[in-house]
């Protein structure tokens, strides 16, 4: 039997076979969606390129050559040079590390917090639920960028405060999502069965409710990543995110926006980088949602 037939069989003989078969079918569906697949490939290229930045360029992203400022793209400097003669190609590559690093840091904080708050609120119900949801409402009542700006201003501008500020503004939707999932799970028979065996609430929430709420959170995370990239770039552009000379894309645009009319490629190239990264995550998230949540389209 070929592995493909083994995966696609209608009569799986083990739990593992059924699970892998289901995953393989989802993968086939995903493959059929050309845009989503392109998004996945682009995301992978972005990750590899920023991890392997030192292998892809011999240039130092912070080395200045004032004699060669604002150069047009050439064989030596593929994307040209910026206002201090630094190689833009190298800065874009290393900037990818900052952007993706910020995304990972934000998601790493936000998804678990949102998941815990949402599952606890949904499972306990009553006063705890009302209190927790009221708190999320308050955070949802601010436009994200503006709340993040105020936080960063209070904490003083920099990359770690930017991450913290974005995380503070990004968790409430996850809490709401996890709560909605929990509400449908908590009255299921298997939860009642676990409760009968004497499991305590923390164990039920952690071991039985949360794993089921994870999948919708994952879709949300992928869709959110472009938002995080854009917010991080926006903060950088307003001078409130990563600080120069860090090669963060938004910060690079802010530093060189005055050259847009003469040396247009200098601020435009980081702009294209942000656009491609955000678009790739949007396409990927869109495709994942189609597969995992066919209701929403």
């Amino acid at each position: 039997m070929t592995s493909r037939a083994w995966l696609l069989t209608d009569t799986p003989s083990s739990r593992g076979q059924a699970a892998w078969g289901r995953r393989y079918r989802a993968w086939l569906l995903f493959r059929a969606n050309g845009l989503a697949f392109a998004g996945l490939i682009t995301v992978l290229i972005l990750i590899v390129a920023s991890l392997a930045a030192p292998l892809l360029t011999a240039q130092d992203p912070n080395a200045q050559h004032l004699a060669n400022r604002l150069a047009f793209p050439s064989a030596q400097h593929w994307f040209g040079t910026d206002e201090l003669g630094r190689d833009l190609y190298a800065r874009i590559l290393y900037g990818g590390r900052i952007t993706l690093g910020m995304v990972v840091a934000v998601v790493g904080m936000v998804a678990p917090v949102g998941l815990i708050v949402g599952c606890v609120a949904g499972y306990l119900g009553g006063r705890a639920d009302r209190l927790l949801m009221r708190v999320t409402d308050v955070f949802l009542a601010f436009p994200r960028l503006i709340l993040a700006l105020a936080f960063v201003a209070a904490l003083r501008p920099g990359i770690s405060s930017a991450i913290f500020a974005i995380a503070l503004t990004a968790w409430p939707p996850y809490a709401r999502l996890a709560r909605a999932d929990t509400l449908t799970i908590r009255n299921a028979d298997f939860i009642a069965a676990v409760r009968l065996t004497g499991a305590a609430a923390p164990r039920i929430v952690l071991r039985h409710v949360m794993p089921l709420a994870v999948s919708s959170v994952i879709v949300r995370v992928t869709l959110d990543m472009s938002g995080i990239i854009l917010t991080a770039a926006g903060l950088g552009f307003l001078g409130m995110g990563a600080q120069p000379p860090m090669p963060e894309w938004g910060t690079m645009i802010a530093a060189t926006r005055g050259y847009i009319l003469e040396q247009w490629w200098v601020p435009t190239i980081p702009g294209i980088a942000i656009f491609i990264a955000a678009l790739a995550f949007n396409l990927l998230g869109d495709g994942l949602r189609d597969i995992l949540d066919p209701k929403q389209r």
Binding site: A141, P143, A278
Partner: protein, 355 residues
């Protein structure tokens, strides 16, 4: 866009139980507003307390003699415990006092009254443009699901969700102003016309109309065009996607099959039967999109030097003018809450299923 999240807060669409339930639902929505506002104020207060800038030094300067610093500290109530300080802050807000801007030397409320109309003008123009394009595009994309048009709409709106507004603004300036020369530069009006029109509403286009200065009006419209396009594209994506999703749901309804069986024309089914049923949720989407524009406005105004509340906020941020930052944040939060409330209420009042 965080607007999409708030839609999760909508009431379940099929709540029955007569007028009383409906009224209590509306009251419930209204009663949540003061609590949200209280939370909003608490957050801005706490942000103001953790900041590394000493508010006393910000007022008197760092060369002031120690006794002056001590006196101002007492006047500001900074020696009191935090809850008392919060009480003082609340009382000040109730009197409509948002503090003073160090940068402009005016009261923050005055500043906001000066800058807000420009943002309102820009955001309103942008939402109108986005509606005019986004709703038909979404409806047609849903009617021809899977067609080439549908794919184009999907890609164009995904691109709109992916491009940073400030990059789009810069590219527009480059192409339409610098290269093609068909658009005027940044700002609300040409310097030539500065001060020609008396300020009535603060919205340059309207003020010029009131003063019957048509050359100024035309110039103001031309200046409005580019930032409007940028902002409109920002919310177009959201409006189109939501319209398409709602339409797909509506078109799957059995009453559509009935209408088809009756032999009604395609266009009639699309607009009179399907679209009429999604009009109410669309009102919600529009209110949320409008609220989302406040966020885009901050970046757009910075790129186009548009004298609105977003520019005021960013300039204050860069000058560490904390009263101004917190005041502007609070006002924008307040507008956001009101728009969300209107979205929620319109849903409850207009949709017969919530009765």
């Amino acid at each position: 866009m965080s607007g999409a999240d708030a839609s999760l807060a909508l009431p379940p669409p099929t709540r029955r139980g007569g007028r009383r339930a409906r009224v209590s639902g509306i009251l419930g929505t209204l009663s949540s507003v003061p609590i949200t506002l209280f939370g909003l104020i608490l957050i801005t207060f706490l942000i103001g307390r953790v900041m590394p800038i000493d508010p006393v030094i910000a007022i008197v300067g760092d060369h002031a003699p120690p006794d002056v610093i001590a006196r101002v500290r007492l006047e500001l109530g900074l020696d009191r415990p935090l809850p008392v300080q919060f009480g003082i802050y609340l009382l000040r807000l109730l009197h409509g006092n948002l503090g003073h801007s160090v940068m402009t030397t005016h009261a923050v409320t005055e500043d906001i009254a000066t800058y807000f109309p420009a943002t309102f003008e820009l955001a309103t123009a942008a939402i109108l443009l986005a509606l005019v394009i986004g709703i038909p595009a979404g409806v047609i994309a849903a009617a021809r699901q899977g067609s080439r048009f549908d794919h184009v709409v999907r890609v164009v709106s995904l691109a709109g969700q992916s491009i940073p507004v400030f990059v789009l603004g810069l590219v527009f300036l480059l192409v339409f102003y610098a290269k093609l020369g068909i658009a005027p530069g940044t700002g609300q009006i040409d310097v030539m016309y500065d001060g020609l029109v008396p300020r009535v509403t603060g919205m340059m286009v309207i003020d010029a109309m009131i003063a019957e200065q048509w050359a100024v009006c035309r110039d103001a419209l031309a200046h409005l065009a580019m930032p409007t396009l940028v902002l409109a594209y920002f919310s177009l994506a959201y409006i189109t996607r939501m319209t398409r999703a709602f339409m797909l749901d509506a078109l799957a309804g059995e009453y559509i099959v009935t209408a088809r069986a009756k032999g009604l024309s395609g266009a009639r089914i699309l607009w009179r039967h399907a679209f009429a049923n999604i009009a109410v949720p669309l009102v919600t989407v529009v209110a949320l999109a409008y609220a989302g524009l406040l966020e885009g406005a901050v970046l757009t105004e910075t790129v186009f030097s548009w004298p609105g509340i977003g520019l005021y906020l960013t300039v204050s941020l860069l000058n560490a003018d904390m009263d101004a930052v917190l005041g502007a944040t609070l006002v924008i939060g307040l507008i956001y809450v009101i728009l969300n409330l209107l979205a929620d209420l319109s849903y409850r009042v207009l949709d017969p299923r919530t009765r």
